[in-house]
């Protein structure tokens, strides 16, 4: 059975690095966790079927991540998406819910809590 692959898309490099390193430490070898350099790169990985869980922060002024979630909702509706955002608003929650996002977390969240949700999301 293949090891789950978790891909992280976050415009904030420090937050992205902490998420990747922290989850990798907590999960260990049961999953591989990578950072996508851009929303476009994440899209390519996802359509190739290389991703088990996508962690994104679609808030802020950069709309590319939100566009990525929308595109995946249309093309890969079964791919689990976890929103981990620093820009939590009711509107964003509604928007993500309408795009089929089942896992939604607001920063600053502690890594152990994030770990629990990720474990559930990966299944």
């Amino acid at each position: 059975m293949a090891v789950p692959h978790i891909l992280i898309v976050d415009n904030d490099p420090a937050a992205a690095l902490v998420t990747q390193r922290g989850l990798q430490m907590l999960i260990g070898s049961e999953a591989t966790i990578d950072l996508a350099h851009s929303a476009g790169a994440a899209w390519l990985s996802c359509v190739r079927g290389e991703v088990s869980l996508l962690i994104v922060d679609p808030g802020g002024t950069d709309r590319s991540t939100a566009a990525l979630v929308k595109a995946l909702h249309n093309e890969r509706p079964n791919l689990p998406v976890l929103v981990l955002t620093a820009y939590d608003t009711p509107r964003l929650r509604n928007q993500m819910r309408n795009l089929g996002v089942k896992f939604y977390l607001a920063k600053p969240i502690d890594l152990p809590e994030l770990h629990k949700i990720v474990t559930v999301a990966v299944g």
Partner: protein, 479 residues
């Protein structure tokens, strides 16, 4: 000779006799001439006496009407003095037309309290008087014919007031002023058909004209007073509405200022979340590799605790900016819009702006912050009014809407104007704080409106066409 002497004697006697008869005739004629002269003198003197008396009566009426303020008192004076003008008349009845110009109502008599009596214009003597251009004298069959037009109830009422019954003559006069018919005055004659004469017509018309002038003047005074009362009431209502609007605008401005501060706080909070998240969890990762008795551990704990404190402050800032949960309540959107329209009604009327509303009854209630939504609606309506300096049409419409890719199911509120429209170069910046095209604008109204709607999970969009108008659409999700 004897016969010759006898003849002169007989002749003389006959002459004396004829002379005596002639003298008697002269005396009789002289007496008759004297009587005729006396009668002639009387005939000249009588009208002068009557005229003088009637003039005195009319002068008395004028004086009384000048100082009388109440219409009922005026009516009583008129019927009383009319009876004085025509001694021997069996009654003076005065009718006034009702507000709808449909019925004459008996308002005053000189024969006691007026009976309840209502006559159609043209019906009976009073109805004919009402429609007549000037005073009329009716006698004999014409009186009978007019009375036959009345029903039994009307006849009964008249019989109780007029004695003897039926009258054989009547003087009729309309109460008119400047072509407006106000009522009618009817003087009933006695059993004699010759009580009234044609020369009486000018007198009854004079008294009727005086009455019409007095009644009209008092009516104008009463109408002016009523209009003044209405004006005062309208001014009071306007002042109250203006005060409410001013208060609402002040509240809107205050809210906008607070919101600007809140928006700044929220923006800062959002930007802090990423570094806070990275810092806290970096410390967590460091902590995992530290031995339990490492001397750095207490400081690590302090750092984590202080970062936790920052996180709580940030959370409180965000909560302050969001509508508090306990202020959210079931809010009927259509009713809220109606209330807001009512609030700006006076403002719109002064700006010659008409309002058309089309509320979809299917749009029910949502859980929302009613005061904040009211501020949004108020702001959009006032903006629409500002966009129509020469007047126009404000349209408010609601509808329910199904879920789409962009939003869940919910409702739309459209606020449209027929104003000047918005230049396309301004459209992308409309909802930015402090962006304004108005000389006195703060640039916060639309920004805070958009923010409030966003906080409710909705959004605002705008479409505008220069010279044609602008439509704002507010989407609010169903809750």
């Amino acid at each position: 000779m004897q016969s010759h002497r006898r003849r002169p004697v007989r002749t003389h006697a006959r002459g004396q006799h004829r002379m005596m008869r002639l003298l008697a005739r002269i005396h009789a004629d002289t007496q008759r001439i004297a009587i005729l002269e006396q009668q002639l003198t009387n005939r000249h003197l009588l009208p002068q006496t009557i005229l003088s008396g009637r003039l005195n009566v009319i002068q008395a009426i004028c004086a009384a009407l000048l100082v009388t303020q109440e219409i009922e008192a005026i009516l009583r004076i008129v019927v009383r003095e009319a009876n004085t003008l025509f001694p021997g008349a069996s009654g003076a009845l005065l009718y006034l037309i009702d507000d709808k110009d449909e019925h004459l109502i008996l308002r005053a008599t000189n024969v006691g309290k007026p009976m309840p009596l209502i006559i159609r214009p043209g019906q009976g003597l009073s109805g004919r008087a009402f429609l007549a251009p000037r005073a009329m004298l009716v006698v004999g069959p014409e009186v009978e014919s007019a009375l036959e037009e009345l029903d039994a109830e009307q006849i009964d009422a008249l019989q109780q007031m007029i004695h003897p019954w039926p009258p054989t003559s009547a003087l009729l006069a309309p109460l008119r002023i400047e072509g407006q018919r106000l009522g009618a005055l009817v003087m009933y004659g006695s059993a004699s058909a010759h009580l009234f004469l044609p020369r009486d017509l000018q007198f009854i018309q004079s008294i009727s004209d005086l009455a019409a002038v007095a009644i009209s003047a008092r009516s104008q005074v009463a109408r002016t007073a009523a209009l003044q009362r209405d004006l005062d009431q309208t001014q009071t209502l306007h002042a109250e509405a203006q005060a409410r609007l001013n208060a609402a605008q002040a509240q809107l401005l205050q809210s906008a200022k607070l919101a600007a501060v809140g928006e700044l706080a929220a923006s800062v909070a959002h930007e802090i979340n990423n570094p806070l998240y990275a810092a806290r969890n970096s410390l967590y990762l460091v902590e995992q590799d530290l031995p339990a008795d490492a001397p750095q551990r207490p400081f690590l704990t302090i750092a984590q605790s202080e970062l936790g404190r920052i996180a709580r402050i940030i959370t409180r800032m965000r909560e302050f900016y969001r509508p508090a949960r306990d202020e959210l309540d079931t809010t009927p959107i259509n009713e809220l819009l109606e209330e807001t329209i009512e609030l700006v009604q006076t403002h719109l009327r002064h700006g010659q702006v008409g309002v058309q509303s089309a509320f979809d009854p299917a749009v029910g209630s949502i859980v929302a912050h009613a005061d904040q939504l009211r501020q949004v609606f108020l702001n959009l309506m006032l903006n629409a009014c500002d966009a129509m300096p020469d007047g126009g049409e404000l349209q408010i419409r609601t509808e329910i809407t199904a879920a789409t890719e962009q939003h869940s199911n919910g409702l739309n509120v459209f606020v449209s104007d027929t104003g000047t429209g918005i230049d396309p170069e301004h459209l992308p910046h409309l909802f930015e704080p402090f962006y304004t095209t108005k000389p006195q604008g703060t640039g916060l109204g639309l920004a805070i409106s958009a923010h409030i709607i966003t906080q409710h999970g909705g959004f605002i969009t705008v479409e505008s066409s220069l010279g044609k108008g602008t439509t704002f659409r507010i989407f609010l999700p169903a809750t």
